[in-house]
Symmetry: C2
């Protein structure tokens, strides 16, 4: 027979476990909880993994980077279907940008490109971009998972 | 004054919280704990973020992929300094492989390339690789963090 105290203990333990694993709430390296990330959708069969390769006109690289950081931050924090948006610049040529983009589904991608923040980036950087290649890719190992968060 | 029951409850709650947030132990989408990932080192100032671009001889692509999946899995699970090893193949040309590799430090990278599993991959695939380009990169946004795990 369970005692009342034991039942209370189980309720507390379950509650603590739930709080610490709820989607979108992670602990950063300083053990501070990030609460800006929205919960994410699971990857669907029509999801997209993409390497976007952008060559930026050198004169505009600093301005471009501000736009890219802003759209990446808002997309990751606010869009449940944007699973990764991880942008890097070649060390040898910082005008060559690659973005690892993952969308949970085609619908999530359509919502992303229709969003106000993406349109601000797209229209704001059109004149800065020399070339853009969208390489859709397939992960080699379906058990290899990437999680992408903004840590503030 | 704290009662004995309250103290026991606090001990249980603390223990459950510790178990659920300890480094390297995450919950996968089926809410099953993965215990194969080692704890990871923090990124150091001399850490490496790299896009390795490999062109594989078409005749060997299936064999190459087995080697690549194996070395990625072991490196992520066993090496504290291997923070990402996320390999993708172009959909348009599956012989073009890109691997997002992140090492916590130069020392972690040296340990990686000296490891038995990396040497097995390297020596086993030498004759399969047409070209290899190691593009070291800089993330655009230091607050944008990637976590890479093997989910079993």
């Amino acid at each position: 027979m369970m005692t009342r105290s034991f039942k209370i203990m189980m309720v507390i333990a379950t509650a603590v476990l739930s709080i610490s694993t709820v989607g979108g709430h992670e602990y950063n390296e300083n053990n501070r909880m990030e609460c800006n990330m929205c919960d994410k959708l699971p990857m669907q069969s029509d999801g997209i993994v993409r390497l976007s390769k952008i060559s930026v006109t050198p004169d505009y690289i600093n301005e471009y980077m501000k736009y890219a950081v802003e759209v990446g931050t808002i997309s990751l924090e606010k869009e449940p279907g944007v699973l990764t948006m991880y942008a890097v610049a070649d060390k040898d040529n910082p005008c060559h940008i690659t973005i690892l983009e993952t969308y949970a589904s085609q619908e999530a991608y359509q919502q992303h490109i229709a969003s106000q923040h993406f349109q601000k980036y797209k229209q704001g950087t059109l004149h800065m971009v020399d070339s853009l290649v969208l390489d859709d890719v397939t992960p080699l190992n379906p058990n290899n998972k990437i999680t992408n968060t903004i840590v503030r």
